[in-house]
Symmetry: C2
DNA sequence: TATTTTTGTTAACAGTGTTAGTAAAAGTAA
DNA sequence: TTACTTTTACTAACACTGTTAACAAAAATA
């Protein structure tokens, strides 16, 4: 009755091809250049085949949003050394966040870009909560270390995320304000202020 | 020879109509819904007429980017009281920036949104420099007041703009991190840290 | 072998930005 | 007023876009 193993495998291979080709198009020509017909051309199948694997074009973007949050989470975990003290870990988190963004700008664009449909659905992704929790863990640790238990952890989360996103977005916009400031210098500067606002 | 005064006036009226209708469409249905044909329908003219007044669709977006920076500059000037001390003025600037963004979200979107064509050309706008200079003025004043002449004013500009943009973007994305933190609380929190990083 | 199911195709619909070619209207000169 | 020129606005097309209904071919099942 059900599909044979070979068929399932072939289907998965086709889906992988769609993803691979989409990735290539986006990487080389940007999100605006990604079209169903271009993907169909690349995988050497007709257009409707793509709709067998993805409900619509949005679902393809969503795939990369999901993948993006996975990669972001990994990058954060990779950079944060649990044994270190909290101020260092916050700096490591910031660096991880920034490295993810500059190494995967297309992912970051579709994850957080304004004016694109996906932003309405940003709260629907599971891994975004895991990223939040990662940040909250460090914030709680910092609050505990500072002895200022009255500090609102959610306020601090939103502030932290805002600072990180702002730096990344301005960097990706390449809003070159006169001189060419090294981005990590801005990162250091902003995060320094942030850490002091909790710990000092 | 040249066009009569009446004709010039009529032309300007038509251009104004294009702008007005575009504004309405964007305000009600978002940037994605703005199309040349929809504008043509609204002004009750055929499509090519629009190309008499705007080189292409991008030029229409650009018009609103320009208008946006005008409004932003006005909002900043309106909120900053020259006689006040610099830490207050920095707070006023932040509030002005934030008020502009929440009161003109569509403008902000097209001015700073990632993934839309306009971001390649963000450095081409004149008024963005005026906004930069406005910020730099206050930063210089703060550096002078702090006595820390070694501080890089452009680094501080980029940090400030990053923080402001981050807060606004996260707010417009409505990336509701658990509770509903009042945005101005985040603003206060982040700007506090920023001001201390210069003054203290 | 005959029948059913799956798979992939063509072709269309309703949109999009943009422009070449043309008809009508308005302005100018005789 | 008539003849000519310029301006103005239109229709229709081109080359795209996402999406889907209808159909043919291939594969699996009875």
């Amino acid at each position: 009755m059900g599909l044979s193993e070979r068929k399932l495998r072939q289907q998965q291979e086709l889906k992988d091809q769609i993803i691979t080709c989409s990735r290539e198009i986006v990487e080389n020509e940007g999100w605006a250049a990604l079209s169903i017909r271009k993907i169909a051309d690349a995988i050497e199948y007709s257009v409707p085949v793509i709709y067998k694997h993805f409900e619509n074009k949005d679902a393809i973007s969503s795939y990369f949003v999901e993948e993006g949050f996975d990669k972001l989470l990994m990058e954060l975990n990779q950079h944060i050394e649990p044994s270190k003290e909290v101020s260092i870990k916050l700096r490591q988190l910031a660096k991880g966040y920034w490295l993810f963004a500059v190494n995967h700008p297309k992912h970051y664009e579709i994850m957080f870009g304004l004016g694109i449909p996906s932003c309405d659905r940003i709260n629907e992704y599971e891994n975004i909560k895991k990223v939040s929790e990662k940040m909250l863990n460090l914030i709680d640790e910092a609050i505990l270390a500072s002895g200022k238990e009255h500090v609102d952890r959610y306020l601090k989360l939103k502030t932290l995320w805002s600072i990180l996103h702002g730096i990344v977005a301005i960097e990706l916009l390449s809003l070159n304000t006169r001189e060419n400031i090294c981005p990590s210098a801005v990162l250091e500067d902003a995060i320094d202020g942030y850490i002091k606002s909790i710990l000092v």
